[in-house]
């Protein structure tokens, strides 16, 4: 997997992106990252490092003040979020993105908005989600808001997968999820490249992230700190040392 050609443009790329709130408070400063095809790319870093901001900027939910967003090497900076679906790029944000007062099935149907007229395709998409998570089929008439946290997370994942995306962006998929279910989610993520899905995973859960990912970015204060293959992270230094390194570095400089 890691041998994917370096010449091929990345599925998704941030190039020197700056994002600012309230005029001049920079959240991201010249951040660059790439999600290469067929790989799981991880983004870790401490609170406030700008991980989620990077994802939101990638997905058009925030407008960069400088830098570019590229899809397959083509510049799409400023493209509104709803266009990303058309490019086969789906996002599962950190905060709940379900429509609580709609049924599970309606939540899935809404994801099919861009091809809502195509009944066959919509049916196919629903089937795909149900096949991934059979629990959703059982509860398809229930209100999304009535499900447990884990089930809601599965619905969000199923909803994103129903579209058969080429690229999936995940923002802290296991935050506030019980450990047992978290393990299921990581197992599921690990299986995605086999389905031909490129993954960009933002996570606080450093250990799991390092286990799951092929390539890893460490962010700090809205900037790239380190990046490299996850195997290098795993092998060259122990996990605890890794955390200690980037945290201690910060304090002692």
């Amino acid at each position: 997997m890691e041998n994917a050609s370096r010449d091929e443009p990345a599925a998704l790329e941030l190039k020197g992106v700056d994002v600012a709130y309230h005029g001049d408070i920079r959240i991201l400063r010249g951040l660059s990252l790439q999600a290469r095809r067929g790989l799981i790319t991880g983004v870790i870093g401490p609170n406030g490092a700008g991980k989620s901001t990077a994802l939101r900027a990638l997905y058009g939910l925030l407008k960069p003040v400088a830098g570019d967003v590229l899809v397959d090497g083509r510049r799409v900076t400023g493209m509104p979020p709803w266009k990303f679906i058309e490019h086969g790029i789906a996002l599962v944000p950190q905060h709940r993105s379900l429509f609580n007062e709609l049924s599970v099935e309606d939540n899935l149907r809404l994801a099919c908005w861009s091809f809502r007229g195509d009944r066959a395709r919509v049916g196919e998409a629903l089937e795909r989600a149900y096949a991934q998570f059979p629990m959703l089929r059982e509860r398809r008439r229930d209100m999304a808001g009535a499900m447990s946290g884990g089930q809601q997370r599965f619905l969000e994942l199923g909803r994103a997968l129903a579209l058969r995306p080429r690229v999936l962006l995940l923002d802290e998929p296991t935050a506030m999820i019980a450990p047992r279910i978290s393990a299921d989610i990581y197992a599921f993520i690990r299986g995605l490249p086999a389905q031909g899905i490129t993954v960009l995973l933002v996570d606080q859960n450093v250990r799991q992230c390092v286990q799951v990912c092929d390539h890893l970015y460490v962010l700090e204060l809205g900037q790239n700190k380190v990046d490299g293959s996850a195997r290098a992270f795993r092998e060259d230094a122990g996990l605890r040392e890794l955390i200690a390194e980037w945290v201690d570095y910060r304090i002692d400089t």
Binding site: P81, W82, I85, S97, F99, L102, R109, W113
Partner: protein
């Protein structure tokens, strides 16, 4: 007295239906766009004037004016959205500034109608035959019954749209989670423009119905409907369309019953009291479950 109460109930239902429509369009706007349309009443009255102009100019009966108003106001709403809202979204507090901006729109709209139609009250001299229908011991005007019928059909159609069709569900979804709807691939700008246009079209249609139910209107009647719309919207829960429909009927009944038992001049206080009481004791409205602020 019994007769009076019966009359009050019948009126309350009809008037309440109208109020429900006035409220539901305002609440849709707030829900999807977080925009407080202070000019809503003026939009409604503009609908009445459109019906008047069509009738007195071209002899088009009000019932035929309904689809015309729907189309014309939908188009106007669509255009107005692109003129006003994108720039408004840039301000520090768009929600509060929208209140102020639509204050201006309401002044301008009333002034425009004044220029076009003059200050005096207008009415549409088109009567149904028979003019009224006996319902048990009371008589109800045919025009009002027709309006009630249309209101009911419109409400059902709206409910069907919102709860049974995908675009309707998308609108409701946008109210529930404005960011998430964008990552579903829904163009939020177009959806918002559609919501604005739909709400405006509803306002226009309601205006035509008002011309049937309350035969006289003038450019300054708008403000009263704005207040009523606010009462209904707050009572039903901000951004809750079904709540607004229910609240409209409740408020219509309350208002009419108040006029039965209180002097007419006193009865208006009841409406304000309901509004204030709701915000204080049940800010999420009658159907609301979450408390906001």
């Amino acid at each position: 007295m019994g007769l009076l109460i019966l009359n009050g109930l019948a009126n309350g239902l009809i008037v309440g239906g109208i109020y429900a429509l006035v409220g539901v369009s305002l609440t849709l706007l707030y829900g999807v766009l977080r925009v407080v349309n202070f000019a809503h009443g003026e939009f409604v009255i503009a609908g009445s004037f459109l019906a008047f102009a069509l009738f007195s100019g071209l002899g088009v009966p009000p019932l035929l004016a309904l689809p015309v108003a729907a189309i014309a106001f939908f188009a106007a709403g669509w255009a107005l959205y692109y003129v006003l809202i994108p720039r408004l979204a840039l301000s520090d507090d768009p929600e509060l500034m929208s209140f102020l901006m639509f204050y201006g729109v309401s002044i301008a709209a009333a002034a425009l109608m004044l220029l076009l139609f003059g200050a005096d009250s207008r009415s549409i001299d088109d009567t149904f035959s028979p003019v009224s229908v006996p319902l048990g011991p009371i008589y109800v005007s045919t025009a009002r019954l027709v309006a009630l019928g249309i209101t009911a059909v419109l409400s059902l159609a709206l409910a069907w749209f919102l709860f049974r069709t995908l675009p309707g569900k998308a609108l409701r979804a946008a109210i529930m989670n404005r960011e998430a709807i964008q990552i579903m691939g829904v163009d939020i700008v177009r959806l918002s423009a559609f919501a604005f246009a739909l709400a405006t079209a509803l306002a226009g249609v309601t205006g035509v119905l008002i011309a049937l139910v309350f035969p006289a209107f003038n450019p300054f009647s708008g403000a009263e409907y704005t207040i009523i719309a606010f009462i209904v919207v707050v009572l039903g829960g901000l951004g809750n369309p079904m709540g607004a429909l229910l609240a409209g009927v409740i408020y219509g009944l309350a208002e009419q019953m108040a006029t039965v038992f209180l002097p007419q001049a006193m009865a208006q206080i009841v409406g304000f009291a309901i509004l204030i009481g709701t915000i204080f004791f049940r800010p999420s409205g009658i159907l609301g479950t979450r408390s906001r602020r």
